[in-house]
Symmetry: C2
Subunit: 437 residues, 2 copies
């Protein structure tokens, strides 16, 4: 098998070939920006769909359907003439001859953009990696959904009270937006759904913990947002441990460095990410968090034609010594800016340094509750929650996904329930993989 894409066969002209690795927010923004550019674009992704990561936690909790937060990449570019896509895993970047080694063959590039995003960071702890549940993609969110529902089912038929409580104890590690949203959603499930549908389980037996290493939740937001998120979660009976780090988890006992040990069968890991990238990037280009150092036009240091955008890029400046935040708007802005700069480079024009425009941050904590920092404007509660829903709905790819998420939310809101609590694939708690059929 060898790559013969339609683009390649027709590519007897002199248009440079731009290869984008990764169909996340950054990669898509770049490909869209290049629609009319004098280049051929090839986008590669190991999946044939784009994932709307901000709503993964709603898949895990059964609020929305898995398929409605994914969108087929091909559909987005149906009307792009200079675009092609291949489902491929890129193994190695060979900068010496401008090629990629992939599972579908060797692919040549004139310009390469690494937009491979980030993966869960377990900080080297193999035991935690084995037993805790990550949530960075749709299959993982579905695994988490299966685990939560299976453990509630098992709790119903478990007579050992300590084991029953362990099955009903949920510990979310990491108090960033994902951890806050996930623990808020679990608390809501306990409150609204547990005793309604699981006759025989008491909501007083279900416990939700949130463990955060820093001294406040949502550390990237204002102290006001942090305080309010903590207040909302505490009211919803989430036990919050700040300045606390997980020491170990063996599938039964979670040890925290504040002296607490929690017996739990559900550890949800949202405590950090690290850049994910193919092999072949020299070690001197790798920054903290396994990211790639890039200059102010997202070019990888030491190369003329290799770029990185989004979560995998570390654009370190005096103002931002840790680089940009790993959020969708930063990736989208970098993709769009790089699209313009690539055209300038090809035309021999002056490039324009990237400038990040922080449009603000939003995090939801539960029904009617969210926190918002929009520049100097900070507010929390119902309007923040409405704004959160509105922004996320508009950002979703595709009219169909927007419609389905909107109706799912509306129906869940009014029925105070949800229809997506299906164990579509059984998650084997011993082997930690789902079982096929």
């Amino acid at each position: 098998m060898f790559t013969v894409s339609s683009q390649e066969q027709n590519n007897n002209n002199t248009r440079p070939r731009v290869v984008i690795v990764g169909g996340g927010f950054g990669g898509l923004a770049l490909a869209k920006q290049l629609k009319k550019a004098p280049v051929d674009v090839l986008l590669l992704d190991k999946n044939n769909y784009h994932t709307f990561q901000p709503l993964l936690y709603q898949v895990a909790i059964g609020s929305v359907e898995a398929d409605s937060i994914g969108f087929p990449i091909r559909r987005i570019f149906t009307r792009h003439d200079n675009f092609s896509f291949n489902m491929a895993e890129v193994k190695t970047v060979n900068t010496e001859n401008n090629t990629l080694t992939t599972n579908i063959g060797t692919i040549h590039y004139d310009y390469l953009i690494i937009a491979t995003g980030s993966d869960t960071n377990f900080f080297g702890n193999k035991e935690i990696e084995h037993y805790a549940m990550p949530m960075k993609n749709i299959p993982q969110a579905l695994n988490l959904r299966s685990l939560i529902l299976q453990n509630l089912e098992t709790a119903l038929v478990t007579s050992d009270q300590r084991e029953k409580f362990a099955l009903m104890t949920f510990v979310v590690v990491g108090g960033g937006p994902t951890g806050v949203e996930l623990s808020g959603a679990l608390a809501e499930m306990r409150h609204l759904i547990l005793m309604k549908d699981y006759h025989g389980l008491s909501k007083y037996d279900m416990r939700v913990y949130l463990v955060e290493g820093k001294d406040r939740l949502l550390a990237s937001m204002s102290t006001q947002a942090s305080a309010k998120a903590k207040e909302f979660l505490t009211k919803a009976d989430v036990t919050i441990y700040n300045s606390a780090h997980v020491e170990s988890y063996d599938g039964f006992y979670l040890k925290i460095d504040n002296g607490k040990t929690i017996k739990t069968r559900n550890v949800l890991w949202a405590a950090g990410v690290k850049g994910e990238m193919p092999e072949g990037i020299p070690s001197e280009s790798i920054a903290k968090g396994n990211r790639i150092y890039v200059d102010n036009i997202n070019r990888v240091k030491g190369y003329e034609n290799v770029f990185a955008i989004g979560d995998v890029a570390a654009m370190i400046t005096d103002e931002l010594p840790n680089g940009l935040p790993g959020v969708a708007p930063a990736a989208i802005q970098q993709g769009t800016a790089l699209g313009k700069n690539l055209v300038r480079l090809i035309k021999g024009e002056q490039t324009v340094p990237f400038k990040y425009k922080d449009k603000g941050s939003l995090a939801t904590v539960g029904r009617n509750k969210a926190v918002a920092d929009l520049g100097k404007l900070r507010f929390q509660g119902f309007f923040a929650w409405l704004l959160w829903g509105f922004v996320h709905l508009l950002s979703l790819a595709g009219f169909s996904n927007k419609t389905i998420i909107f109706f799912s939310w509306a129906i869940n809101y009014f029925t105070k329930n949800s229809d997506n609590r299906l164990v579509v694939r059984h998650f084997n708690t011993e082997t930690r993989v789902t079982e096929g059929e």
Copy 2:
């Protein structure tokens, strides 16, 4: 671990315990019918959700979301006081002491209803079972969706023309409603989507075959419906082989007893079903197609308190020497009737023999095209298609599922496309299982 359901703990009264194995159409109808009956109902299913099987093919083809044809069983019975549910696999029926051996412990019953439905019948051919794709549940439909999409992606990067055609050749085996609907949907995908989204593939290279053993399609319907279904499919460029049986399939070559050999990587098996049941049913009670002989009140012959309904039941009469058709209305009617008869039995009243009311049959062949037999009334085309959609929408469990399927259909209809073509889990074509994440 031992079953201690809430129902069991409180069960110090003398209400008999009715245990239903299987949450399909029949099992649900029975449990609903027993809502006010003087019994305790325990429903067991290996899944925590009900599957709306008539739309599985639309999941396989990517038209609707997998989650929207499943519905959590617990939600259906939120307001039933005498109902409990456990997710459990029933391994053996022990009729000598009225218990079930399950993976969550031993469960006692006073009345047992086997409503375990049917599974794909490969007629003992292990090779075909390994390489052909069945489609009887949601994971299998998702596997099929992955296979179809993966093979199209692979076709794009395959330079060997014969292999490329094999990847783009789809053979549906079985010309009943499922096979007709699936081949029609594949033909529609070729016509509407292939060249729009898969630049580089030609619709003239994609082939769809339908192989049926009988001399006409939809053999359970009128000859008029059969003829029209054949006409619709032929117009859509589906090659139909009637009176043809598959001899072998080794993953590459499908041999048919009409002398044809098709090189294909996609064999979709809809050629028959057989009853699925726990162990412990004596062999003299097993009818053709691995079903259980039942009398006219669905009682298993030789037992006082064991019943079978739906696909797994063989209610053989002079008028129906093969038993009832394996369709949802037959299972629902049996469930409802048995619910009434159980109450009569408990009260010592006379039972009423079951009488099947055939409300007619519908099968869709594609956009705007379906066939309908409603008693003497037979019609085909647009109105049959509208009726098909209407009936299926109303039959779906849950307002949310109805809403989401309705909007998915409406959007697909007007955009002539669909958003659910995601390879959410990779199907390994060698091992024939999906790979977890």
